[in-house]
Symmetry: C2
DNA sequence: AACCAAGTGGAATGACCTATCCACTTGTGT
DNA sequence: ACACAAGTGGATAGGTCATTCCACTTGGTT
């Protein structure tokens, strides 16, 4: 049909055939797990294998790697947005702030792919970027409140959040799952730095053993 | 001469032929530059190409990637050791501390490979690890002094330094060279968190533009 | 000046990756 | 029940890598 008359206006018109829909879901689910473990540089071939579909099927559905990433992480990003909104409306602005930051960082710790998503910008992927933008706006309101409350330092900038997320991603990347305290420790330090009183409690430092185990583990990266 | 009687005791006996020595130097120099730009995951083939030698020559001289990395970064690591010793003996322990941390982080910013080296542990590479160990010990003395001085918080741990380095590597990795202020800003926050008074000055936040440019740049990683 | 161990470069191997193509299968509207 | 567009998987082309092998060259010693 219409071998091509819809003049580009609406793209989401064509419904998928039921079996195709099912494959699409399987791909997304497989990708979600692979990305969680291996980060965003996981190979397309590996994801197709994990999903039990042919490579062609994967590429037909998601022509670029970014299409897949966007599909996989869109609702995680939405949750971030919701979290930011909830924090903005929390009773105590500072508690909202602290809780939000800790939640984001814990999310990063539990999902390598998401940790990377949070430190990148996907110009395309409109859906995801819109969530991010909305989260950013709620967060900006939140920090204004927290400053007025007198608990957040005046010189804190909304752009310090992405910096913190990048820093946390770096720690997670370097320690793997060998030293989960390292990430919490970093966040503790930073929350101290952000708070007006500077009296935030600090999680314990990782044991040197664990830290060294983490540092030794560095293999593939992506890292960098 | 002695076509092979040394029964494995001393390995560094056999002197290289003069042309081989020269090739070795060229390889190390080329690797230094490639690692600086591309990080430790740079391809062996690329390094051989840059050095103008055959691939076999590279592999004969440095059988594993780590042998090469150790040869390239040994004296950078020694400089770190020297810096730590100098800081330990500085007039003001806190100034020594601050200066040392800032120097290390600036070094990371100027050399992608070294940024990664500082967040890894190379069980083998005895030379490098010894430097690291000595730096660690000097640093431990330094923080003891700084605490006694009353400028460094009591709950600072020597293991917070590797955490800071990992965090900084994460920021550098995510921003590339698009937002150098981001790294300085992170370090500023952390120094504040470490200082007893919490009144350390804070470098300016990066402009959102620059930060986004950095975030968009993510391509190869290594990184992550 | 002649010998040869030490050293060399490039070809070959094999693994893995992205991306495209195409002959076959299958869901679905009639 | 049938037709056929939509969907499929595997083969394939073309890239990058690490690593090994081997026929040739060369520095240094005698």
């Amino acid at each position: 049909m219409e071998p091509s008359s819809e003049s580009g206006v609406c793209k989401r018109v064509r419904r998928l055939r039921s079996d195709a829909e099912q494959n699409r879901d399987r791909i997304i689910e497989a990708a979600r797990q692979v990305y969680r473990r291996e980060g965003l540089n996981a190979s397309m071939a590996g994801i197709a294998r994990a999903a039990g579909v042919g490579i062609a099927t994967l590429f037909r559905r998601f022509p670029t790697r970014m299409d897949l990433i966007a599909a996989v992480f869109e609702d995680a990003m939405r949750q971030c947005r919701d979290g930011a909104v909830a924090a903005r409306d929390a009773e105590s602005a500072w508690e909202g702030f602290r809780g939000y930051v800790e939640t984001l960082c814990a999310l990063q710790a539990s999902n390598r792919g998401f940790a990377e998503v949070l430190t990148m910008n996907y110009g395309s992927a409109k859906g995801m970027e819109r969530q991010r933008q909305e989260a950013y706006e709620a967060f900006t309101d939140l920090i204004r409140r927290a400053k007025r409350e007198g608990r957040l330092r005046e010189d804190f900038s909304p752009d310090d959040l992405p910096i913190l997320l990048m820093a946390n991603a770096g720690v997670l990347n370097a320690t793997g799952d060998a030293a989960p305290e390292a990430s919490r420790r970093l966040v503790g330090h930073l929350l101290r730095a952000f708070s007006e009183s500077g009296s935030e409690p600090l999680p314990p430092a990782p044991t040197p053993k664990a830290l060294i185990r983490g540092m030794a583990r560095q293999r593939r990266a992506g890292g960098a």
